[in-house]
């Protein structure tokens, strides 16, 4: 369960990205495709070469959605309701337990490379819990 302290840390950390959200999104996806090739199976229609417009565009979308989630941590279920429908009925990405796990890991790596020591164990823990909560919400309607 996200504590008040967790929420504060997440908002702080997100605030530190200051405009680099698009880069963070693109890099997260790129790392995910590289480290977990099976995730590419959901993007046969994409140009998956490094720096592609589609990866940048999609990374931006993902990060924007996370930003929305962060502004609505007290009501994730409602805030992500549309995305939850999309993932369950339309995209049908393998239950988020698996794929979001890879996205979450790569996002954490990107944040860690950018923040170094600032990516403290407390921040790490808060972000991990947050991504877990997001994954749960996105999986709500799978069946």
């Amino acid at each position: 369960m996200l504590t008040a302290e967790d929420k504060k840390l997440i908002q702080q950390i997100w605030g530190k990205l200051g405009g680099a959200e698009e880069d963070v999104g693109a890099e997260t996806l790129w790392r995910m495709f590289h480290a977990y090739p099976p995730t590419k199976t959901y993007f046969p229609h994409f140009d998956l070469s490094q720096g592609s417009d589609q990866i940048r565009g999609h990374g931006k979308k993902v990060v924007a959605a996370l930003g929305t989630a962060i502004k609505n941590m007290d009501n994730l279920s409602q805030a992500l309701s549309e995305l939850s429908n999309l993932h369950a009925y339309n995209l049908r990405v393998d239950p988020p337990r698996f794929s979001l796990q890879f996205l979450a890991q790569c996002l954490q790596v990107v944040l860690a490379t950018r923040l170094g020591k600032e990516y403290s164990p407390e921040v790490h823990s808060a972000v991990d819990k947050f991504m877990s909560a997001v994954a749960s919400v996105l999986a709500e309607k799978y069946r």
Binding site: E27, W30, R31, H34, A35, Y36, Q105, C106, Q108, V109, V110, A112, T113, R114, L115, G116, K117, Y119, S120, P121, E122, H124, S125, D128
Partner: protein, 147 residues
């Protein structure tokens, strides 16, 4: 039979040469106990684990973290025989320690994040991909003798 390309081996050994095993091991184990508190169940005799600060400063956590990562170093010297390298440890973790192998995956991912925080831009996507492969294989080797 695992296949490592020359590039992958270089990404592993090259990075490993710069790793402070004691610091990195201590950090990784501490983070495991902090981020996934239920893992503390295996360390009930380690003393004070009541807060992140306590865990990070706990000498037994530090010592054990160093032990764990030193063993990892052995794997890196034997990339072509991870199964053999970890056979005895696998039996130990099953028969004596009773550790759910899922925890090996968790620790592996945490190690990656510790490396990322430490090496920043040098921890490139190619580097991460290779290391994710390595921690996955180590976890697999450690789980292999479970029965």
């Amino acid at each position: 039979m695992v296949h490592w390309t020359a590039e992958e081996k270089q990404l592993i050994t090259g990075l490993w040469a710069k790793v402070n095993v004691e610091e990195c091991g201590a950090e990784a184990l501490a983070r495991l106990l902090i981020v996934y508190p239920w893992t503390q169940r295996f360390f009930s005799n380690f003393g004070n684990l009541s807060s992140p600060t306590a865990i990070m400063g706990n000498p037994r956590v530090r010592a054990h973290g160093k032990k764990v990562l030193t063993s990892f170093g052995e794997a890196i010297k034997n990339l072509d025989n991870l199964k053999g390298t970890y056979a005895k440890l696998s039996e130990l973790h099953c028969d004596k320690l009773h550790v759910d192998p899922e925890n090996f995956r968790l620790l592996g991912d945490i190690l990656i994040i510790v490396l990322a925080a430490h090496f920043a831009k040098d921890f490139t996507p190619a580097c991460q991909a290779t290391w994710q492969k390595l921690v996955g294989l180590v976890a697999h080797a450690l789980a292999r003798k479970y029965h």
